[in-house]
Subunit: 261 residues, 2 copies
DNA sequence: CGGGAACTTGATCTCGGTCAATATTGGTGG
DNA sequence: CCACCAATATTGACCGAGATCAAGTTCCCG
């Protein structure tokens, strides 16, 4: 899979393909997801759409790789993406889990992707040429403000994540994680009962700075305490939401939508 | 100390007081620090300056408190500021260390500061009314782009910090910290020999998710290996920079200037 | 100098990592 | 639909890095 390949279908198809992208209530248009008050008008919409094309990835495929030259960033339409950073020796840290409406692959170091993006599920995303988008945003203050808002939101989340990694013990971390995912999926209307994590124990471990075994044991503790139930290998039923939030030290601050990374 | 008090001296004084802020080569004007290519022209400069006033804090004083209603954010002129987040039970995580040229107190949740800002040294900073700044930036695309750049930079740093907290062991973390501070102070031209940390072992611990004792022991290990020397309680001589970066898993990605938080 | 705060050092304990089975699970093909 | 199997998760035993508790020791600032 090579992300530098010209993205997806030809223009006409891309455009019609993008249509539900901006009209379906359950999905999110670029405007809404970036917290603009009003939808983009036709001319602006057309221009913006011309920048992007829809592409697909299967679970475990890479959307973008740290260090590779950046061409475009991605707005997730369907599926979950893990944004991560790795060391030479194999250790890796997932720094964010992103869902439909979010943008990923926006951050660069000197024209190279700063992080790695991996599909946690099958993913459908819209690729936007970074340069084109930036110059477009430069002419549209409200869009630029939306980008600022998204970045601010991501930065607040990162601060919270640092608190989790630096201060919480293993069970607290797992509880926090479950609350976070629950809130995220709820916000994007992809939550079901039970909650489907779409992440293996190993991936959760890479997010929380824990091993597979510790994640498993912490889940077990929460289950034994009657706070959650486990369904299969990927499903979680939150039985005692308040208790779970208490254990996970989840404050009242809401998860904000459409963060970039 | 109440940060909602009208900031600093009267207008005229504030303006003349701000003058060196934009002209001294060792300090940084708002334009340069935000990575604008050109200095702000006179009219814009005047307008922007009208928004801010200079204020001072002593070591350990609070610039802004999480949850308090946000009035203004702060651009550091002198000194070091720790941005942090705390739990009810006293645990706290320093999420960033900021230096002259950086902005702090920019992030809010629903009009309330999202983080806490504490002076690690005596601090001089320029307070800008957030609302006024935002509306000003809305009319000046290059300034908005600079804000985006600063936020992006901070977000990349946060990702790196998550890797440190989640994956590195105690000695690696301390080595990484020393490299980071060294690079930061160098970038802002406040580095000397030896390097003066301006942070107690406890503060370093709150930044790295370690205890005072572990920070001390890790420093001792690095000293015993001949990688650093310790001068007094706050001074560090980097004897083997390459080795230190290797231990701290410091990549080639540069520390970028003027991050916001 | 003198005294209090900060740092270092040592002894012990504990949580989470590591290594090693064992058990589930979910996907596949008969 | 069921049996099988490879992948994943769970569980157990043990170990070690870092936390905790407790003295010393150094440093800095009046």
């Amino acid at each position: 899979m090579n992300f530098t390949v010209p993205p997806g279908p030809p223009r006409g198809v891309a455009f019609s393909g993008l249509k539900p992208f901006v009209s379906l209530p359950c999905d999110r248009c670029i405007g809404r997801s970036l917290n603009l008050c009003k939808p983009l008008d036709d001319a602006r919409l057309r221009r913006l759409l011309a920048l992007g094309g829809i592409r697909h990835w299967k679970r475990h495929e890479t959307l973008f790789r740290a260090g590779d030259p950046m061409a475009s960033f991605f707005k997730i339409r369907k599926g979950i993406v893990a944004v991560s950073r790795a060391l030479d020796d194999g250790r890796r840290q997932i720094v964010a889990v992103r869902a439909p409406g979010d943008c990923v692959g926006y951050l660069d170091n000197d024209g190279k992707y700063a992080f790695e993006g991996e599909a946690l599920t099958d993913v459908e995303a819209c690729a936007f040429d970074r340069r084109g988008f930036d110059s477009f945003a430069a002419d549209h203050p409200d869009l630029a403000a939306a980008v600022t808002e998204a970045l601010s939101s991501a930065l607040k989340q990162s601060g919270q994540a640092m608190l989790v990694l630096g201060q919480l013990n293993s069970t607290e971390r797992v509880a926090h994680f479950l609350c976070e995912i629950d809130a995220l999926y709820r916000d994007r209307h992809i939550a079901g009962t039970p909650l489907v994590l779409h992440m293996s124990r190993g991936e959760i471990g890479d997010y929380l700075g824990l091993t597979i075994e510790t994640v498993s044991r912490s889940m077990g503790k929460l289950k034994k305490r009657g706070i959650i139930g486990l369904v299969g290998t990927d499903g979680v039923v939150v039985l005692e939401g308040a208790k779970l939030r208490e254990v996970g030290k989840v404050g009242t601050a809401p998860v904000s939508a459409a963060a970039a990374f």
